[in-house]
Subunit: 207 residues, 2 copies
């Protein structure tokens, strides 16, 4: 069996330029160590999100979290896509992310979703520092979540996140997902997304 | 005069829980060292963005960057709000951020803006590691930008970013902005945005 350490090492990004270790080592596993997230660690994760920048310092990010074996955890599971349901149950903690759609003077805050993403990025870096992995999920029924969690009108659900310490056992996953877990990570080249002075027509556009 | 080092130290977040140094030390200055960003450093910034996670690995983030004393730099300046114009000229490099609004099969990608924010977060952490500050700006004329930079229809502008090495001279700023630069950073408490098991009604909602 592949050891947890090997899983993590095999998933290091094949980066073209050297990047900071916590960013290089980060990936999104579907299996986690079967251990509760420490309260102190959870507070550190939220603290990392808290100090993110945001448009006019509005801090639009909101999180609902639930530990395994709680009613709220089961409610979150019930709102995930069938594909995500299969492996997300491996996580000791699940989170829902939401954002406030309005500014302090009740205008639309276009950047709220961007600022939520930034905050989750900071949380992920802090998590990586503590050996915690975040796997973000877009596949969920947000209407169902907003209903069963009574999300206020001016807020909107973005993602669910499965959290746990790195080092889960591969054999908790189906053969297909085991294969996915060890697959090389792929990214488009910098030339496809970073343009000097002007927009460049890229292959992606001609699809 | 306050030395650059003091500026940086005075702006360290007063965090309630210990967080990773690069997240704690980050802030958004309005003055930068008067030095070009090294090409290698710029590539490392984009590489950090490149390895961010995104919904279905679509990687919707796009960046246009321009160095001071270029036509493109002046074009970006011309699209900023008057308030941002005043100080953004201190930056040796300006960036525009954009995102692809569609999935690979031409559906709306709701999470694209979130994923751009995450990528900019990773870029900011990488920058902090190299002593580079990013100051993000929401105050801009995106319609003008999309027009003068010929942004394709399926892409949308999100923010502009001023980039430079930390350690700019305070006296490049107006007295008001000098004061802002040294102001204590403020954030809402964790109890206002991180909820266990269920949504909590918070003061912010009753405004």
């Amino acid at each position: 069996m592949t050891s947890p350490e090997q899983i993590q090492l095999e998933n290091i990004a094949e980066s073209d330029y050297e990047i900071f270790a916590l960013l290089k080592q980060r990936y999104s596993p579907r299996t986690f160590k079967d251990v509760r997230i420490k309260k102190q660690h959870l507070n550190q994760l939220f603290e990392a999100a808290r100090w993110s920048p945001s448009s006019n310092n509005i801090q639009p990010w909101r999180f609902i979290y639930a530990e395994k074996n709680s009613e709220a955890y089961e409610k979150i599971i019930s709102c995930l896509s069938d594909f995500n349901k299969e492996w997300a149950v491996n996580a000791p903690l699940l989170m829902l992310t939401a954002y406030h759609e309005k500014t302090n003077d009740h205008q639309d805050n276009f950047h709220a979703l961007h600022d939520l993403g930034f905050a989750v990025g900071n949380m992920t870096t802090q998590a990586q520092y503590m050996g915690i992995a975040l796997h973000q999920m877009a596949g969920l029924d947000w209407k169902k979540i907003e209903k069963i969690f009574n999300i206020p009108e001016d807020y909107h659900i973005s993602t669910a996140i499965a959290l746990g310490y790195y080092g889960g056992e591969l054999n908790k996953l189906s053969p297909e997902l085991q294969k996915a877990e060890l697959q090389e990570r792929q990214r488009i080249d910098q030339s496809q997304f970073a343009f000097m002075d002007e927009w460049k027509a890229i292959k992606h556009d001609e699809d």
